[in-house]
């Protein structure tokens, strides 16, 4: 009989109209690292939220050390020694690290905060586990890695024994990833039990003891890592064999489409510039990928290119025409297409119908309006064509309210709109974020098709695999500067990681000449 510290048996969690978890079983042994694997939307986060008391399941029970427990809120979870590092950190930005750590379990005398003893404990813990964080720094002013350490300290401060890590490596450099995996191993050695949520197979192979796989809300199975392979895991996760490689021809770059010279963009968050004196160009028929860790100026760079933000200096040329001072509409009309980073915030009007969203960039053109009145017949015809050509699936075709569509099809709608519009340059920012494998393949193929049609493609990505597989040329951005230009065929994830973390740099020229 195995000694399980936590068992989740037959858990079913429904949301209005959705079964997010369907009869799922998860058993965690004491002192093990147990990976929870699944695609986006497989129900991993929901299951962990159930364990953490954020959701109550409709069916099923949770046991700790064999005894049934009720977890109605995070306090209950905490009392049972369960702690969680959320994928999106749950930190109050205007508070200090210390304030965030003690929030909810504040040491107090008659309601008055007693911070000094808390500080002592935090300092001790961070020294013990090598988690260097300044307890008095404000969260908004520290790096993502430090924020994560603050989250880990939050669990340790509460003396949690069962630690849940929800996609902890998503925002880190390869080097930082190695560090966090080591930290997790250390915790396991100390007897803490760890649930590690991820969809990255390499990491599972590296640290996990066992792995439970979910797919589409259902339990697929639990395997010992020693007895399995990456391929087997991926098959369990996706339900079919998938190729990790993207099929594409060698690129044939032609004339320069976008040229950026000495571009500087001020930051809205801090006083320094977010993009510092950056120069590069993109040619027709190639996919150039901007790699880097989140928050190193990618957003600002793209915003400056598309006109959402103003650059403080430098020039942007599209097809040899200076567009630095043009507004968004003008840039779009002169051949710039943009698949935005956040499809809900920027890319779509969720309350609008699909057809209305498909003309979001073109409703003002002659084809769709006359004297200020929209030609709805043409809009419908156009929408029907795109829906067919780009295989956009929805409940009611062109009149579907976009909010009710799945994430993958929403993204397809944006891609259809941006690619079908007349353009020379396609800027795609994290176009596969939050999509499942099928949709990711679709997006990659569309990008390559666009390239093969002789357009220039500028891809901004945080996923190393995507960077290496899809691009023809890699630019690495670090702290607002382009620190390296690499050939995807000749570089490795490790080398890329060194550039991304600022440990290594070259100028574009050297890279080309040197190799």
């Amino acid at each position: 009989m195995d000694n399980y510290i936590i068992e989740m048996l037959g858990i079913t969690k429904m949301f209005p109209g959705i079964i997010a978890n369907d009869n799922i079983t998860l058993q965690l042994k004491k002192g093990e690292i147990h990976a929870l694997l699944g695609e986006n939307g497989a129900g991993k986060s929901t299951l962990m939220s159930v364990l953490f008391g954020l959701y109550q399941p409709e069916y099923g029970e949770i046991r700790k050390n064999g005894e049934v427990v009720n977890i109605n809120n995070p306090n209950d979870a905490n009392d049972l020694g369960i702690g969680m590092v959320h994928q999106h950190f749950k930190l109050v930005e205007i508070f200090t690290v210390l304030e965030n750590i003690i929030l909810g379990v504040e040491p107090n005398k008659a309601g008055f905060l007693q911070k000094s003893e808390a500080r002592k404990k935090v300092v001790e813990l961070s020294e013990k586990y090598g988690l260097s964080v300044d307890p008095d720094a404000y969260v908004e002013e520290i790096t993502v890695g430090m924020q994560q350490r603050a989250e880990i300290l939050k669990m340790l401060y509460r003396d949690n024994e069962i630690l849940i890590f929800d996609e902890p490596t998503a925002v880190l450099t390869p080097q930082e990833i190695r560090e966090i995996l080591q930290i997790m191993k250390g915790f396991a050695k100390e007897g803490k039990s760890i649930l590690f949520i991820t969809h990255k197979l390499n990491e599972i192979m590296e640290v996990a003891d066992r792995c439970t796989v979910l797919r589409k809300g259902k339990y697929i199975g639990t395997v010992d890592i020693e007895d399995t392979t990456k391929e087997e895991l991926s098959k369990m996760m996706v339900g079919r064999d998938i190729s990790f490689k993207v099929k594409k021809e060698k690129s044939k770059p032609k004339e320069i489409v976008l040229s950026v010279e000495n571009l500087t963009v001020p930051s809205k968050i801090h006083k320094n510039n977010a993009v510092k004196n950056v120069s590069f160009n993109i040619k027709a028929g190639e996919i150039v990928c901007l790699a880097g860790i989140d928050g190193n100026g990618q957003t600002e760079l793209v915003n400056a290119l598309t006109g959402l933000e103003k650059a403080s200096s430098g020039t942007i040329r599209l097809k040899e025409r200076d567009i630095t001072r043009d507004n968004i509409r003008k840039r779009s009309a002169s051949g710039m297409s943009h698949i935005p980073e956040d499809r809900h915030k920027h890319g779509l009007v969720l309350e609008y119908k699909l057809e209305e969203n498909l003309v979001l960039q073109r409703y003002w053109q002659k084809e769709f309006q006359k004297g200020g009145f929209i030609k709805f017949d043409n809009v419908r015809k156009y929408a029907n064509r795109l829906i067919k050509e780009y295989d956009i699936r929805s409940g009611q075709g062109p009149v579907t309210i976009v909010r009710s569509m799945s994430g993958g099809n929403q993204q397809k709608a944006i891609i259809a709109r941006e690619i079908d519009k007349e353009h020379e340059l396609l800027i795609a920012v994290q176009p596969t974020r939050g999509l499942d494998v099928g949709a990711i393949e679709y997006v990659h193929n569309q990008l390559i098709k666009t390239r093969d049609a002789g357009k220039a493609v500028f891809l901004v990505s945080l996923e190393l695999e995507e960077v290496l597989n899809v691009s023809d040329r890699i630019l690495v951005i670090y702290e607002g500067e382009i620190v390296g230009e690499l050939d995807p065929k000749e570089t490795t994830p490790e080398e890329l990681g060194l550039y991304m973390s600022g440990a290594k740099r070259n100028t574009g020229k050297e890279a080309n000449d040197g190799k």
Partner: protein, 321 residues
């Protein structure tokens, strides 16, 4: 010199009323609820407290006792009325601005209705004199005595005490920390086991208490005990919101904002007493508009970089994580 003393003594009751209401707005907003109903809550508190004063005036209760009891009455009524806002905003997840607007409209109409039916007038006028000519001993202190302890109301002292309490709650207590977390990042608060709904009710309730008291103090210090449905509290609830934004949701800065606005208003109503201004011959109406103009100018300069609680105005929905 006497003019300055006069202005200062007249400014304080105005400032205190604004201060309390603005602090109320602050407590509501740092918890995440936009409280545009301050105006209505003030008027409700003032009216119920005036009813109380009306019912006890003429007995041998001393004026200052009546004032303290009236304050309690106003606080309770403000609290109760604010529950309508909390219920809509927190439990029903309704639009907070629209709800607040309706609460602002309800009270003047209700007051007019009842006052016309039962008093045959637009409102209610009490005739207890809460004025303090001079506080014993303290009033004799040079300068300070004249500024703070002569020709004043008890409300000023009470208001300053509330300010100190507010500062302590805001920075030093567990409650303050949790409340601010709820207005800034309710999901974070929830994830560490804080009941966001309860905290938001608490924040809005404190604002109800303070706005109720502020309304009563307004009627005591500014309108001589008259509370009516026509003029209400003359937009003080809205000015308090501006003071709160000006104060960047921080108690001490709100205090200075309140002093600034109170000064403008006092100036506007004392033009005839200040030879220099009255000689200019500008219509007094312009001075009356001054606080509202000042609000606009202040907001124009502060809004670009103002940092409101991040989650304010957004109903907290657990499942929408």
């Amino acid at each position: 010199m006497d003019t300055i003393y006069y202005l200062f003594q007249n400014m304080l009751p105005v400032a205190i009323s604004l201060l309390l209401v603005a602090l109320g707005g602050m407590f509501s907003e740092i918890g995440g609820i936009i409280n545009i109903a301050l105006e209505g809550i003030m008027l409700f508190g003032a009216f119920i407290a005036a009813l109380f004063v009306y019912s006890v005036q003429g007995t041998d209760m001393s004026p200052q006792t009546i004032l303290l009891l009236g304050m309690v009455v106003a606080a309770i009524s403000g609290l109760i009325y604010s529950l309508l806002l909390s219920f809509a905003a927190v439990t029903m997840k309704a639009d907070q601005v629209i709800t607040g607007t309706s609460l602002n409209m309800l009270i003047p109409a209700a007051i007019l209705l009842f006052a016309k039916m039962f008093f045959g007038s637009d409102g209610i006028t009490t005739n207890v004199n809460f004025y303090i000519r001079e506080v014993h001993i303290l009033g004799k202190i040079p300068v300070i005595g004249k500024l703070f302890f002569q020709n004043t109301y008890l409300t000023v002292m009470i208001g300053l005490v509330f300010l100190v309490i507010a500062v302590i709650i805001f920075y030093r207590t567990k409650f303050g920390l949790r409340l601010r977390a709820c207005g800034e990042h309710p999901h974070a608060a929830d994830s560490v086991g804080i009941n966001v709904h309860k905290m938001r009710y608490a924040g809005a309730s404190i604002s109800g208490i303070l706005a109720g008291i502020g309304g009563f103090f307004y009627s005591v210090g500014i309108t001589d005990g008259n509370v009516n449905g026509h003029t209400g509290v003359a937009g003080f609830g809205f000015l308090a919101l501006a003071v709160m934004i000006f104060g960047q949701w921080k108690p001490m800065r709100i205090f200075f904002g309140a002093l600034f606005f109170a000064f403008l208003r006092t100036l506007a109503y004392s033009v005839s007493l200040i030879p220099f201004l009255s000689n200019l011959g500008i219509d007094q109406t312009y001075y009356k508009m001054l606080p509202y103009f000042a609000t606009m100018i202040v907001l124009a300069f502060t809004s670009k970089k103002s940092r409101a609680p991040k989650a304010e105005g957004i109903p907290y929905d657990k499942s929408q994580r």
